[in-house]
Symmetry: none
DNA sequence: CATGAATGAGCGTTCATTCAT
DNA sequence: AATGAATGAACGCTCATTCAT
């Protein structure tokens, strides 16, 4: 993705999304941001009057929307919920590899440590709810009742979050690809007691 | 837990574990650390010659050991794996509430953004492996074969990590208490302790 | 005084006069000025090509003219020089209270610290000379000879300047009301109007 | 006065006193201060934890004490109150010339525009009260009763403040030397009506 | 073993100004 | 005549670290 042609504001948002995700809110300086975005110092406050915090919200919004697109694309052509979930996890694994095997959840990295903590957490909650709702919708589309759809959507969300954490520590995307196997709950399977 | 009586080094470690977990590695300044630990200005580099990075490793070590203790205590008196997992999740929920409903994984918060990134991630991996191995051991003790024990241990780990993230965004420990229900994939099967 | 209906340029001048007087030339940013004046961003350099410095001169001019009007009004209906001086001091005390008990000499606050220091000081001198001349004229009108009129005019000027300083520190207008007593050096003498 | 041999903290205080007096609190940047004091950037916050505001208070304190010394020295060898007041005004005129003919009241310039405005004004009031009290003491020593001593002390204070303002605008110390003439209140003098 | 004074690079932010429209 | 987007220098301040004692 060549960002050089984008307007300054968008270059700032993408630079922020990228850097915050890897180094966390406090781990990224404005100078890092500005040089990554090839933007002059003064323009940050022109586009984001409240500075770094505003930019973090914008970056989180952009990253959250990207995630919604990945979810939608994964389930769009799926024939079962498991299919969609598997595609999603594999897509995320591929993205994890592409971005250097060191990125966690873009929302958490960006918003969990910010200064306007209360507002940041609230906004993270909204993003997460959006993701879960999107998965929920697809689960419903496959015929699951509301309770089961909700349960599965949250389960998948939690596994992905946990997967990001573990993949990051292991510097390996394999854990993300192994998530679907944990999601499959086949009531017909029995495990023999020891 | 009254930390006032502890030696300076331990007070520093606990202060670091507490603050890093909430605000992340870069979100905590040495002044914050020193004043939280009620430690004199110069003592940090006396006890931790490499400074903040050393302290972060020590804090992660301490936090990881605490987690191992919580895991051990949860499974010690359990009659089934599900029992132990449930106890663990409830204990973590309680701790989450006690520490202000804003703390995520103590290892990830402390080590994922550090400067010596490579070494930090490696160390995080070791901590995580230790947690999973501890759960694995208990699963084996309850008669699960190695593959199933590994699968369940990792599943629980991932759910807890995801649970911490979601609980943090929602500022609610409820999600942690709901994790065991997602873990039980074969409700009809009971597993006898070994 | 409702300034909303005034043209932008006048709103800028009054906003500048108000803010410079309280916070000093360097203590007021263009943003403060623009928002106090409810003026659009670009309009400052339209009306004042040399920017802040031009505006400061305009504000000082306006404030100086206001002071001349207050002096004139105070002496206009006076029957003696002391009468006029007393009225003036009481009017200034009232204005001091109305504007928040924190304002000093509008000229000094605006011009003494500016960047084009030489020109600013020269202009301040002209303003001050104007005030003293105005008082001198009234003193002459009451029959004082040139030397005595000059002496009294300067004495009153100095007391008012000192009074503004002390009133500001004490946040009290009382000192301004006490000035006439210091001016009266020959209580037994009455001076007939010319 | 060679300040090079003084400790860093004192060099900072003197640099601040000098620069604030000429350019005002907001007109002086930390870089100006630091280079005038030949001090490294980090040491300012070592000596003055609250930064510029702390330094301003320290500078005002030092300047106020200097003024008290000048007052004391002026009255110490005086034979009458008028003598002392005259010596004081002449000393101040000399200092005015020595420091570039552009300095006003060191307290007002430093404290009237600061950010911690309330505290700054309060402190300025205390300084001014100290000066007035010092003059009052000398007046009493010359046999004036409390009311007259207070009246004369405040009168002299106001004239000096006004004198500083006018001297600054005129870039001339003459006005300071003319103050004693205004202070002389000879009840026996009568002015003939016109 | 333990301390706190000292430091300069870098922080996030605001500044007065320019200029194309 | 009137505007607001854009800018880089400077702002006051905090940082992790060093070192003499």
């Amino acid at each position: 993705m060549d960002t050089a042609a984008l307007p300054t504001k968008d270059r700032l948002i993408r630079a922020a999304a990228k850097l915050f995700r890897t180094h966390g809110y406090h781990g990224v300086g404005l100078n890092d941001l500005l040089s990554e975005a090839a933007a002059p110092k003064g323009s940050l406050y022109h586009h984001f009057p409240n500075g770094k915090a505003d930019l973090a919200i914008a970056a989180a919004t952009w990253a959250s929307d990207e995630m919604l697109r990945v979810i939608a694309a994964s389930f769009a052509e799926a024939e079962t919920f498991e299919d969609g979930a598997t595609t999603l996890c594999f897509k995320l694994a591929k993205l994890f590899d592409l971005t250097g095997q060191q990125d966690g959840c873009p929302i958490g990295s960006t918003l969990f440590e910010g200064p306007g903590n209360a507002g940041f957490l609230e906004y993270a909650d909204r993003c997460y709810s959006g993701w879960i709702a999107e998965v929920h919708d697809h689960a419903s589309r496959f015929g699951l009742d509301a309770a089961e759809a909700g349960r599965r959507a949250e389960h998948l969300f939690l596994l992905i979050q946990g997967g990001w954490q573990l993949a990051r520590a292991r510097r390996s995307s394999d854990v993300l690809r192994s998530l679907p196997a944990l999601l499959e709950m086949q009531p017909q399977t029995t495990i023999a007691p020891a």
